[in-house]
């Protein structure tokens, strides 16, 4: 548990001190913090997860001077996840004591599970925080590129922070 809190604090710190300041190729934002909200255990209609996502978003807003944006984006992602997991996975594969990562699900199912969530998060950030929509197809392209690169970042974090034999250890 202690290790998880420390790793969360490190990722949060990296998000606000490094990734929040960088806008790669003038179009891509990296948000390592979403890793935790994608892989954590599933509890149907969990108030604590929704509240936690809002509080973390609120803290990110304070650091990035973007009132309400991250709290909206993270709580929206967690809210959609609440309905997305029972919709996407067969009933017998849903369990509250498992992590939703690529070790557990396999790369391809994990890709299809996480991309819509990352897309939701990035869309909220781009619409409410980043520069104007401008040319719409280009705007969508930016969100898609960010979504895909954030997925790769989530995979890297997963390989760094979650070992394949501790998959049931995140309750």
């Amino acid at each position: 548990m202690k290790n998880k809190i420390i790793s969360f604090c490190i990722v949060f710190f990296l998000q606000v001190v490094i990734f929040e300041k960088t806008y790669f190729f003038n179009s891509v934002i990296f948000s390592p913090i979403i890793f935790y909200f994608i892989i954590f255990n599933y509890f149907k209609n969990s108030f604590s997860q929704l509240t936690f996502s809002f509080i973390v978003g609120f803290l990110l807003d304070i650091f990035s001077n973007s009132p309400g944006v991250y709290s909206l984006a993270l709580s929206l992602m967690v809210f959609i996840r609440n309905f997305w997991i029972p919709f996407y996975f067969p009933f017998d594969r849903i369990s509250s004591n498992k992590l939703y990562n690529s070790y557990e699900l396999g790369i391809q199912p994990f890709l299809f599970y996480s991309l819509p969530l990352i897309f939701t998060f990035n869309s909220a950030i781009y619409i409410f925080d980043l520069s104007s929509v401008g040319f719409f197809p280009f705007f969508i392209l930016k969100i898609l590129l960010s979504t895909f690169l954030n997925f790769i970042l989530v995979l890297i974090l997963q390989f760094l922070l979650v070992s394949s034999d501790t998959k049931y250890d995140w309750n």
């Binding site: 003038n26 309400g68 520069s131």
Partner: protein, 274 residues
């Protein structure tokens, strides 16, 4: 009533989510609520201290560049000083010198800055204890940076010129045509110059300066250089794009300017409006 309670109880998760969304939307669209309290932005003590540490580390690795910037700034200031000394008799009666006497300057460092958002902000390493107040202007060595918005004891946050919430009264070119400068939130390299009537003659390459209308900035500080003029726009005014003179990507040291006569000017203007 019972049905209503039953619906609420059944969908309490959804209602709770919408409650959180409502709070987020209030924060997004009501910035004053958020920024009136310095706790909720990067001017608060903990966040400011973290950014200060980050800034010191980054600056340490950029010492060579900072040093050469300071050298070139010193060189230009020295040149100006010599020029003023040489022409002392001309400047002694000049209005511009008297004008600058009404401003007090506090130097500060930028410890956090953004350029790619809809409304960009910067955080300064100075606050109330150093004499920083809300609505003071912030200028860099080359030109305008922004305006202070929120202050805590040791840090302050300001609207950058790259913020659609900031409109700076300005004058264009040698003929000092009255205008305003604003950012439309698209490209950090492009500022829009507004309200220049079509019949007036201005050219690409003209410099846009601050005017004394808002009494925040001293008159004559460069803001941007005109890059594109479109005379065929649908309105009565020219569509003008300009490039900011200050480099917002790399600016580190700034000066906060306080107009000592601002209060008096505002009071007089208010009395006249009555």
């Amino acid at each position: 009533m019972q049905i209503l309670i039953r619906i609420l109880a059944k969908n309490k998760y959804v209602f709770y989510f919408f409650f959180l969304v409502l709070i987020s939307f209030i924060s997004i669209f009501n910035n004053n609520l958020y920024y009136n309290s310095s706790f909720f932005n990067s001017s608060n003590y903990i966040v400011g201290s973290i950014f200060q540490i980050r800034s010191s580390i980054v600056n340490y690795f950029n010492l060579n560049k900072i040093n050469s910037d300071v050298m070139s700034e010193n060189f230009l200031l020295k040149k100006k000083l010599l020029e003023i000394n040489r022409n002392k008799h001309i400047y002694s009666d000049s209005i511009s010198i008297l004008n600058y006497d009404t401003y007090e300057i506090i130097n500060a460092g930028i410890i956090n800055n953004s350029v790619y958002k809809k409304n960009n902000y910067f955080t300064l390493d100075k606050g109330q204890e150093d004499g920083i107040k809300v609505d003071q202007g912030v200028i860099g060595f080359n030109g305008i940076i922004g305006k202070i918005h929120s202050v805590s004891s040791n840090f302050s946050v300001g609207h950058s010129l790259l913020s659609s919430k900031l409109i700076i009264p300005s004058s264009v070119g040698k003929s000092k045509i009255t205008s305003s400068v604003s950012w439309f939130g698209k490209n950090p390299e492009v500022l829009n110059v507004l309200y220049v009537p079509k019949h007036l003659n201005i050219n690409e390459g003209d410099t846009v300066y601050t005017s004394s209308f808002e009494s925040i900035f001293p008159e004559g500080i460069p803001i941007s250089v005109i890059k594109k003029i479109d005379k065929n726009s649908n309105s009565n005014f020219l569509y003008i794009e300009s490039n900011p003179i200050e480099n917002f990507y790399s600016v580190k040291n700034v000066y906060v300017v306080e107009n000592k006569m601002k209060q008096e000017q505002k009071l007089l203007e208010l009395n006249n409006e009555k």
